[in-house]
């Protein structure tokens, strides 16, 4: 597994076409958070989840303007994220590449976790990763 990682990261500069470093730097004071719902909220049915970001900007995917990125919402994801790979795109990893800062969620009843991860132009996490606290909610 370790060797695999090394191979991956050595390939990245090629993929990033001329980028100096494999990882896009993020300001240390960048702060990503979920405005709503808050940790422990019990929500009824569908709800709007709103994303907050301080000290960095939101842009669309593909835009490499320094200190900007776009949101990804991880729903019930327990596996660690590979910091060197594009954030996966599937039912548990929602992408907001057009620069959206909120989403209407309809989750099945029960306990869920939500967590935001900011991705760079190529959907890869920043260095250091800009990640929100993972919150727990209950859908009734």
């Amino acid at each position: 597994m370790l060797t695999r990682r090394i191979v991956l990261s050595s390939l990245l500069p090629l993929v990033a076409a001329g980028a100096v470093a494999a990882k896009t730097p993020a300001p240390k004071e960048a702060y990503l958070y979920i405005i709503w719902p808050t940790d422990g909220t019990v929500v009824k049915g569908a709800f709007w989840c709103r994303f907050g970001l301080r000290n960095m900007g939101v842009t669309h995917a593909g835009d490499a303007t320094p200190n900007t990125g776009h949101h990804h919402l991880l729903i019930d994801v327990d596996e660690p994220l590979d910091p060197n790979e594009p954030i996966p795109s599937d039912k548990k990893h929602m992408h907001f590449g057009a620069g959206q800062t909120e989403v209407r969620l309809e989750l099945p009843p029960g306990a869920h976790t939500l967590q935001l991860v900011l991705g760079d132009a190529e959907h890869i996490p920043f260095d250091p990763p800009v990640v929100s606290r993972k919150i727990r909610i209950v859908v009734t």
């Binding site: 405005i35 000290n55 900007g57 939101v58 842009t59 669309h60 593909g62 303007t65």
Partner: protein
């Protein structure tokens, strides 16, 4: 007015929908429902989030008040930028565009209304504002100019009906650089754009900010070009102007605001193409550094006229699929329900996904923005739906055939190849039949397998399971309720996201089932997305 009513200083925001009666004339019920939904999903929550109060609504607008002018203007910005996002995929005549005025003034507050000169001035500002714009009074400007990093364009003092003193008016611009461009018409200040974007978005947390910036800038440039003669000598014939060349090529995906790739009519050649068999206009001087960014940014990217004598292109290999009826969907995921019958007419479909080699021809012809990575026989990946449309548009013009993206129904019909199981070979994953995570075979986590690596399904299509997820024409709908039964693409008004089928090499086995559906923003590139083309016989 009762004795009890109180006076107070407040920031008053007045907004109305431009062209409301026209919208109502065209579609009364639809417009009403859309506006109601806007209030429910955007305006009410945004005002609340900025600690404002929605005082009253009209059919075509609303009046709200805030304790803080900064919050009021932020709220206005969020509303405008959200509207840009919502309008993106709509035809111009269906777009809902707000005009917003914000004033700071002393008002009389009643339980369900507010009165006073302050309200009248806000109303006047709103009437003066261009659709999609925010106009603020001098009083608001003084309060927020150092707190909200935007551009503020002074529009001078205006006399306002029934108000004694003229009111200084400012237009709120996305960022200071936009102001510089609007007023002086030269030089991009990229740093400032970045800064403006960062700060505003950081504060307001807004989605379509970037897009709003773009549209406003384009609007401003148009205004500047129209009003300020000394701007730049625009070439008399706006030939396919120097595309925003060097900086956009590397990273920027097709910007959603660009009316690129007219999605509804991809196959129709541009009028120029038929007549202008001559060499394309001498316009794009490959290296001319175009010091006037003004001109470079204005025109949307036009399909470039194809010289007639195009050498043969690497056309995708197509296989015929006979028409028929099949059961579309499954009960494994809510998005795949209800299972429904669809009748599909005969069509031809790519035996493989479009390859890097094939795509490069489009790049060489300067008809595709996206320059692919990877080996010649790899499926092209990291393309957006918008990119895909550039490709099929170019392929159609070049070959005089009507190439297009499959409809979602056509895709599933062809992928199933007459089967109704989870995969075309049965219900269980088997190594070597699909290119996906944990599916066995020669799977590589970094890139998709070359085309033709996987065996063909009963209809002769290769590489159906995994590999690149394939864009189809349809707008995303969360399930099949209301889906067409005739095999056509299911479009709609809210079409920011389009459908992807087949799962990718980075998904697990459940995503490469024949019925599995996924979606993504149409304008955004993601590494696992590719295409397979179809055409009618």
């Amino acid at each position: 007015m009762s004795e009890e009513s109180t006076r107070r200083l407040a920031a008053i925001m007045m907004a109305d929908i431009s062209g409301y009666s026209r919208l109502m004339g065209a579609d009364e019920r639809g417009t009403h429902l859309r506006v109601q939904r806007l209030f429910r999903e955007l305006i009410d929550p945004t005002i609340a989030e900025h600690r404002g109060r929605l005082v009253k609504t009209r059919g075509d607008g609303f009046l709200s008040m805030f304790d803080s002018p900064v919050e009021a203007v932020r709220c206005a910005i969020v509303i405008q930028q959200s509207m840009v996002g919502q309008n993106l995929e709509l035809p111009h005549d269906q777009r809902i565009r707000f005009r917003i005025g914000v004033n700071l003034g002393d008002v009389i507050v009643e339980p369900d209304d507010i009165y006073g000169e302050g309200v009248n001035v806000a109303a006047r500002l709103e009437q003066l504002a261009e659709p999609g714009n925010i106009y603020i009074s001098g009083g608001v400007y003084e309060q927020i100019r150092y707190k909200l990093v935007c551009g503020y364009q002074s529009l001078g003092d205006r006399r306002v009906k029934n108000i004694v003193d003229p009111v200084p008016i400012y237009r709120v611009l996305p960022d200071p650089a936009a102001l510089a461009r609007a007023t002086r018409g030269n030089r991009m200040r990229l740093g400032l754009i970045g800064l403006g974007t960062i700060i505003i978005v950081g504060i307001g947390g807004g989605g379509g900010w970037y897009m709003w910036k773009r549209t406003t800038e384009q609007h401003l440039q148009a205004v500047a070009a129209a009003t300020q003669a000394p701007v730049q000598p625009v070439p008399p014939l706006p030939a396919p102007a120097p595309l925003p060349a060097p900086e956009s090529r590397a990273v920027a995906p097709p910007t959603p605001t660009r009316p690129v790739a007219d999605p509804q009519a991809p196959a129709i050649p541009p009028p120029a193409a038929s007549t202008a068999s001559a060499p394309p206009p001498p316009a794009p001087p490959a290296t001319a550094p175009a010091p006037q960014m003004q001109i470079a940014v204005v025109p949307p990217q036009l399909p470039i006229a194809q010289p007639e004598a195009t050498p043969a292109v690497a056309e995708p290999e197509m296989i015929p699929v006979a028409g028929g009826t099949f059961r579309m969907g499954s009960n494994e995921d809510p998005s795949e329900q209800p299972i429904h019958s669809v009748a599909v007419a005969a069509f031809l479909i790519g035996k493989y996904p479009v390859t890097v080699r094939q795509w490069r021809d489009c790049v060489k012809a300067k008809a595709c923005d996206y320059v692919p990575n990877g080996g010649d026989d790899a499926p092209v990946n990291n393309v957006s739906w918008t990119d895909a449309h550039q490709y099929v548009g170019w392929l159609s013009r070049t070959t005089k055939q009507r190439y297009r993206l499959p409809s979602e129904a056509e895709w599933e019909y062809a992928a199933r190849g007459g089967t109704d199981t989870r995969y075309w070979w049965g219900n269980a994953m088997k190594p070597g039949l699909a290119d996906c995570k944990g599916c066995g075979g020669l799977h590589d986590a970094v890139e998709p397998a070359k085309v033709g690596t996987l065996p063909a399904n009963p209809f002769g299509l290769h590489d159906i399971g995994g590999g690149v997820a394939e864009w189809v024409e349809d707008c995303w709908h969360k399930d099949y309720r209301g889906a067409p039964a005739d095999g056509s693409a299911w479009l709609g008004t809210d079409c920011r996201a389009r459908v992807l089928r087949g799962g990718s090499w980075r998904n697990d086995a459940s995503y490469v089932r024949s019925a599995s559906r996924d979606y993504y923003d149409a304008s955004v590139r993601y590494p696992t997305h590719g295409i397979r083309v179809v055409r009618s016989p």
